[in-house]
């Protein structure tokens, strides 16, 4: 579904990624882990189009998207959330989520003026879909009219997930979805991620530090260290890999 082939990325002398290879399989949850500075977020930025890799290719449903701009990739069905919450702070929860559906609205001003009915219908459809597919689904009905700044951190993260879902993505990139959350909030978020995969069959790629969560919900894990891919496999395989143990715990004699 999403295939990364021999990706290299450097900033001046810093080699952020050196030959990353893996595939996020359709309908599965793939996790990317690694110590701080391993290149996880750089990888995400290269996949969503903010960085241009020096070498290597990114394929989306078999199509080479390495040279597309971020908005074009989003239109193909690639959605992401950010490590630091990146909601539009001046808007309400509902407006934020509706913005996720923005790129799918086809009508422009002139068409809207001439065929008001069609534009209205499109808008209403988007709205209904958002109600069912996002707001009810994520259980955020009670806060829909709230401004973002009034919400606690955990809920803001959930709204950000909602906005990504409104884009009706085929592939969802989650950058540290449970960072800074307590155990209860983490469990909630893990449940929502699993629900998304199950109900919509979305392919999910996530970066996370919380080992328990990654081991629990991912079917495939990629481990990065200093920009290099040191392991890739099922959670059990990865957790037994000596290189991974060394990267995380230091060398054991």
């Amino acid at each position: 579904m999403l295939k990364i082939e021999n990706l290299h990325l450097s900033f001046g002398g810093i080699k952020a990624l050196q030959g990353v290879n893996f595939e996020a399989r359709k309908g599965e949850i793939t996790g990317v882990i690694g110590p701080n500075g391993a290149g996880k977020t750089s990888l995400f930025n290269a996949i969503s189009g903010f960085y241009t890799p020096d070498q290597g290719r990114v394929y989306f449903e078999g199509r080479d998207i390495t040279d597309l701009s971020p908005d074009k990739r989003a239109a193909l069905g690639l959605a992401r959330t950010f490590q630091n919450i990146a909601l539009f702070r001046g808007m309400t929860v509902l407006d934020n989520i509706k913005l996720g559906g923005h790129s799918r609205l086809k009508t422009n001003v002139w068409q809207a003026l001439r065929y008001f009915g069609a534009a209205q219908k499109e808008e209403l459809e988007l709205r209904r879909e958002i109600e069912e597919r996002v707001i009810d689904f994520l259980e955020i009905d009670h806060i829909r009219k709230y401004p973002i700044t009034m919400l606690p951190y955990g809920l803001q993260k959930r709204v950000e997930l909602g906005r990504a879902l409104a884009m009706r993505p085929k592939v969802l990139l989650l950058d540290e979805p449970v960072a800074g959350m307590n155990r209860e909030e983490t469990a909630d978020m893990a449940r929502f991620i699993l629900d998304v995969q199950e109900q919509f069959g979305t392919t999910i790629l996530l970066v996370e530090h919380d080992m328990h969560m990654v081991m629990d919900i991912c079917s495939h894990i990629v481990v990065l260290n200093f920009g290099q891919q040191i392991a890739s496999g099922t959670p059990v395989e990865v957790s037994k890999n000596p290189d991974v143990i060394e990267a995380y715990l230091g060398a054991t004699a």
């Binding site: 903010f50 971020p70 923005h102």
Partner: protein
């Protein structure tokens, strides 16, 4: 009281022009986070383009005669025995100029849109993703290029340009005093207000406007939500240069044409800061306030003070509210 009303009306009329200029600065700031120091010079270009298409082009030997002065028989006949200051005479004079006024406005809008696009594409777009400060510095550099460029291109001395609307004097009584104003000023105000309102409605209610607002809040997020950020940049610059062209044409009819028109941008920048860089409503209030204050100062203290007092008020407001009247808290200060 009547005097007061007279000066208040004068103030509102210049306030509306300030608002029209300010709308360009705010739009570019909202979309790109760049404070465009060169906006006044974009307006100066608009004024020169208006001059080019409304005066120079119709004056060429190859231009048809009706373009320079449209004088159909019925008009000559009607004009025959009218007095010096008759309103009908002013309207007829305006009608004779109408072809070149329309050509001037159309030409100014199109030519300025091209200038705006060139600036955006060649100077701003390559800097996308770099520090905003670099882009702001580029606009400062643009000032020299544009004011020098204008003097190279338009060497002719300042000349008369036709008013956009019939400049008939209007007199009416209010609170026992005669109020006196010019028709052209009134129409200029209406044009400025309509454009301002139209742009605010565009940004608030249309899809393209939502894209601008989303980009204003967070560029990279908007980009990954499928909004084409380069397109938003382009729209904002074109919007600024088109409103700037109209503002330039209006200023040219009021103040005459010279490279110093660009300086207007700086006074309006102060007004924009007072209103809040990213708030159309705040900037509108600030523009009207400064316009009225200016007129009142002129009335009570004389013309020399009129250049100082309103900007002292701007300063006071900024000390009291550093982000402007209605600016967002996170807004960067400059």
């Amino acid at each position: 009281m009547g005097q007061f009303a007279q000066f208040a009306i004068n103030g509102l009329m210049s306030g509306a022009i300030y608002a029209l200029i300010a709308v360009g600065i705010v739009s570019v700031y909202k979309a790109t986070k760049v404070v465009n120091f060169a906006h006044g010079y974009l307006i100066m270009f608009g004024a020169y383009f208006y001059y080019t298409f409304a005066v120079i082009v119709p004056g060429q030997p190859w231009a048809p005669e009706w373009l320079a002065s449209w004088q159909p028989d019925w008009m000559v006949e009607m004009k025959g025995d009218l007095g010096m200051f008759s309103p009908l005479g002013a309207v007829l004079d305006w009608l004779a100029n109408l072809p070149r006024i329309l050509l001037g406005l159309l030409g100014a809008v199109l030519a300025n849109a091209v200038v705006g696009r060139i600036i955006e594409r060649t100077l701003m777009r390559p800097l996308m993703g770099q520090s905003v400060f670099a882009m702001i510095m580029v606009t400062v550099g643009l000032i020299s290029i544009m004011s020098g460029g204008a003097q190279l291109i338009w060497t002719a001395d300042a000349d008369f340009v036709p008013h956009i609307a019939p400049n008939t004097p209007i007199r009416f009584e209010l609170f026992g005093t005669m109020i006196f104003l010019f028709g052209a000023d009134l129409v200029n105000m209406v044009i400025a207000l309509l454009l301002f309102g139209g742009i605010v409605a565009f940004v608030r209610f249309t899809k393209g406007g939502i894209a601008i607002r989303a980009t204003a809040e967070d560029q990279s997020t908007a980009y990954s939500m499928g909004i084409s950020v380069p397109q938003v940049f382009r729209r904002a610059w074109v919007l600024a240069s088109v409103t700037g062209a109209i503002a330039g044409a209006i200023l040219a009819t009021r103040n005459g044409i010279s490279p110093s028109l660009g300086l207007f941008g700086f006074s309006v920048l102060a007004i924009v800061l007072m209103g809040g860089l990213d708030s159309y409503v705040g900037v509108f209030i600030a523009a009207m306030t400064v316009g009225v204050l200016e007129a009142m100062t002129q009335w009570q203290l004389g013309g020399n003070w009129a250049e100082i007092v309103p900007y002292v008020a701007v300063l006071v407001v900024l000390i009291w509210r550093p982000h402007g009247l209605m600016g967002q808290k996170e807004v960067e200060r400059i």
